[in-house]
């Protein structure tokens, strides 16, 4: 049994890693979609699109790993969370359909390009909002009876989930703008930097609001953050977040190229760590722990072998693909 406990914990971290990888990688290209209407029609939009065209598909694959991994490692959690947030998941999927095809279609059909640009933005916005609200719905708790979702239709729609949704939109916009600061130059880069500054403030305010909401409205979450000895493990998270936030604003002011993006990732990492402190060891608060929902040991071991072999390779060739398309995006795109 003790072996099983360890494996389940390992799997919880693997899923958390996949979710984190998804959030930062698809986060920046969804963020570019969210900010797209603010870019000038023509070269500025084309360059923004070209900066993510070669990598968006790989980025989105982490979502499939997050979902597929959850299905495989914690099937009960997968079977509870998805029906509980049904409208959000469907909205996210349809949003991803629109923004995914827009990458190809907008080049194929200049006559309708503005419609596909709108689909790109609308799809990105809906997907980001739905992802943030799904996280909120999970954090506020999902009612489970007899291995099935037992809540009602609109449990996922509360002020809190709207807040987490907006926070995610702002965070993705920050990542997207920071990515463009790195990948563009000239006037477009300047524009991206202005956007990044605003998105950074919005993200910090919303992150703070979500944190306060957690602490003041949920007694159990408050206990984790505000009482000893937990507070000693938890305290570094907000402190480091403040440090990163200041560094981010300074890096933007100092017109650094890649630093804001890396600090944006650090911000998301700290958000993820805070999430871990809040939720652990539940995968579906308030009732299901990771051990309640875990797949049997044989499934975990079989997959762990696959992960141990393939994940380093995936990271290696993904890094290579990013390396191939390194540097500033040219005005004419990749060809």
């Amino acid at each position: 049994m003790s072996v099983n406990v360890d494996l389940t914990t390992v799997w919880a971290f693997i899923i958390a890693f996949a979710v984190f990888a998804y959030v930062v990688m698809d986060g920046f290209d969804l963020g570019i979609g969210i900010l797209f209407p603010t870019f000038e029609v023509g070269p500025e939009r084309d360059r923004a699109m070209n900066s993510i065209a070669p990598v968006w598909d790989g980025n989105e694959t982490w979502l499939v790993l997050g979902g597929g991994g959850l299905f495989a490692a914690f099937p009960l959690a997968y079977a509870v969370i998805l029906p509980a947030t049904y409208p959000l998941i469907i909205a996210m999927l349809l949003g991803l359909v629109f923004r995914g095809v827009a990458f190809e279609y907008r080049w194929r059909d200049p006559g309708h390009r503005r419609y596909w640009d709108a689909a790109f933005t609308g799809g990105s916005l809906i997907a980001a909002m739905a992802q943030g609200m799904t996280l909120g719905a999970l954090l506020q708790g999902i009612e489970v009876v007899d291995r099935a979702y037992a809540g009602s239709w609109f449990d996922w729609l509360t002020p809190y989930t709207l807040l987490t949704g907006l926070g995610t939109v702002a965070g993705y916009a920050l990542l997207g703008a920071a990515w463009l600061v790195w990948k563009l130059d000239g006037e477009s880069q300047h524009h991206a930097r202005q956007l990044a500054k605003r998105a950074a403030w919005a993200t910090l305010v919303l992150m703070g609001a979500v944190s306060l909401y957690n602490v003041f409205l949920n007694a159990e979450y408050a206990a984790r953050w505000l009482t000893a000895p937990e507070i000693f493990y938890a305290a570094p998270v907000p402190i480091l977040t403040a440090v990163v936030a200041v560094a981010m604003l300074r890096a933007l002011k100092a017109e650094r190229h890649s630093k804001p993006f890396w600090l944006g990732i650090a911000l998301f990492f700290l958000g993820m760590a805070g999430l871990g402190v809040t939720m652990w060891p539940y995968v579906v608060p308030p009732g299901l722990t990771i051990w309640d929902a875990a797949a049997p040991e044989r499934s975990q071991v079989f997959m762990l072998v696959g992960v141990a072999i393939t994940l380093p390779l995936i990271i290696a060739y993904t890094a290579w693909a990013y390396w191939v398309f390194r540097g500033k995006v040219g005005h004419e795109g990749y060809h």
Binding site: G42, P43, D46, A53, P54, D57, G58, E60, T61, V64, L65, G67, G68, F71, A72, P75, L76, Y78, A79, V80, L82, P83, Y86, P87, I89, I90, L93, L94, L96, V97, F98, G100, V101, E104, Y105, W107, R108, D109, R147, A148, Y149, W153, A295, P296, R298, S299, F302, M303, G306, V307, T310, I314, Y317, A321, F325, G330, E332, G333, Y334, H335
Partner: protein, 486 residues
């Protein structure tokens, strides 16, 4: 519980709709990725620009088809949980890991190398680019491997035990689960179907352009390559399909009974029904037209072998016969029409009229989309034929759905229908638009940016382009005459 039944039916329609739409794209992109790898290999080997032109021509189409496959595939990966949560909870420990392997070994491979394949030739050079193309093609195949293993396990579940909490748990050996009895047959049959679907699309496009200009060397080449596939692979596919049918006979006899329209048992030789109207209420095939004893010959290789019918199966264990009966006939009919095209092309080749026989070209054009119809019909046959089970003989479809109310599922189904027809309709339109243009020397690749095709002759390299990059010269096109193709 009429409400429960309605929600169930809606969830089934939604899954059938989204998976059918989705499968159209991989059925095409599995074959097309391999075709692109072959074209690029031929270009690298022979140095003939014609192959590079064809590569770029089909690459543009591949980019659109692949994007549609990706986004419709993400929907599938979540729909197990949204709409079939009981199934997900129960079968997750067995099939979840196989799907995780699909993501880890296939999806990342495809997605990771796709960007380089589409946009990176001059950044990485020819050889690495070819490697990226091969990785994408390999990824599509590995993806088919895992997902067909999952699907086959649901048809022929083996190697599991039932846990105390009702979950199906993996047994001693994963090998038994992955290589379950129907998997090898289904894998071969499906992958060959994908290759043939692509071959007939390529052949149809080639035929279309031959009808307009029979001297077009690019159209000639693609038509010829496609017709070789038709001539060689269709017979192999018919053989593989027959083996798959025999395997189904062994493991899911009532599916074959429904395919054959055998309501009644035939103790001394069963007829092969060519036509009939299945009548589930009366449990008989109305207006049946059949060839005596031929079914026994095909299924048992003996004219007089007895064959059991659906009268040996309780009513609540029977699949809906009409759907299975007709979809099977559509698939087989198209298969034989494909065989006809393949044989005709051999005859035309022998008579040296392959590029000079408008009737053949018209027939090939008409057969261009037939592969899609055949694969969807084949999937309907096998999936409906498994009913009323989702995991055969273990878990009923009716017991597998999520606890959702009918209006919620109806709303999502409506949204999927509207969005899919609009979005994928547009995508198919763009693909047809690309196919309408004749392939030509100096074909440009995946175009990006407002200034038109980068790198066609006449555009001065910009400051970001390194003029010493030798690989780029191969991409400039327009350096050869149309006549230098075979």
């Amino acid at each position: 519980m009429p409400d429960g039944l309605d929600a169930l039916l809606l969830a089934r329609i939604q899954f059938a709709f989204t998976v059918s739409f989705h499968f159209i794209f991989p059925a095409f992109s599995i074959g097309l990725a391999s075709y692109l790898a072959v074209l690029e290999a031929l270009w690298l080997k022979t140095g003939k620009p014609l192959y590079l032109d064809l590569f770029k021509y089909w690459l543009k189409i591949f980019a659109i088809a692949f994007a549609m496959g990706v986004v419709s595939g993400i929907v599938m990966s979540y729909q197990f949980g949204t709409n079939w949560s009981v199934f997900s909870d129960k079968a997750g420990p067995v099939i979840g890991p196989l799907m995780a392997y699909e993501v880890l070994t296939a999806f990342f491979l495809e997605a990771g190398f796709l960007g380089v394949m589409l946009f990176g030739m001059e950044k990485v050079g020819r050889k690495l680019h070819f490697a990226a193309t091969c990785m994408v093609a390999l990824g599509t195949f590995i993806s088919a491997f895992w997902i067909l293993s999952v699907n086959s396990w649901m048809h022929t579940p083996t190697g599991f035990v039932t846990g105390a909490n009702g979950q199906l748990l993996p047994g001693e050996s994963w090998w038994e689960i992955v290589f379950n009895p129907s998997f090898p047959y289904r894998l071969v049959h499906t992958v060959l179907a994908a290759y043939l679907t692509t071959a007939f699309v390529v052949g149809g496009v080639g035929a279309w352009h031959l009808l307009k200009d029979r001297a077009n060397p690019h159209a000639r080449k693609m038509f010829s390559m496609a017709m070789w596939m038709a001539a060689i692979v269709v017979p192999v596919q018919i053989f593989a399909g027959d083996l798959h049918g025999l395997n189904t006979m062994e493991h899911q006899p009532q599916k074959v009974m429904a395919m054959e329209g055998h309501y009644e048992s035939h103790p001394d030789g069963a007829p092969l029904y060519l036509f009939g109207i299945p009548n589930d209420d009366e449990q008989r095939l109305d207006y049946a037209v059949g060839i005596p004893k031929l079914s026994s010959l095909i299924l048992k290789h003996d004219l007089d072998a007895p064959l059991a019918g659906l009268d040996t199966i309780p009513d609540d264990e029977q699949p809906p016969v009409a759907v299975v009966f007709w979809s099977f006939r559509v698939m087989v009919g198209i298969g034989f029409a494909m065989l006809g095209i393949g044989l005709w092309s051999l005859f035309a080749r022998w008579r040296r009229r392959l590029y000079d026989w408008p009737m053949l070209h018209k027939a090939a054009l008409a057969m261009g989309p037939s592969g899609f119809v055949a694969v969807i019909a084949g999937w309907i046959t096998t999936e409906v034929g498994r009913q009323p089970y989702v995991v055969y003989n273990i878990l009923r479809t009716a017991d597998a759905a999520s606890p959702l109310d009918a209006p919620a599922v109806a709303a999502s189904l409506l949204a999927f229908v509207v969005v899919y027809f609009a979005v994928f309709g547009a995508g198919v339109w763009y693909i047809l638009h690309l196919m309408r243009k004749a392939p030509k020397p100096g074909e440009y690749g995946v175009k990006r940016g407002d200034k038109g095709p980068i790198r066609t002759a006449g555009i001065t390299p910009g400051p970001t382009q390194d003029p010493s990059d030798a690989s780029r010269r191969d991409l400039s096109g327009s350096k050869h005459e149309p006549g230098d193709a075979p």
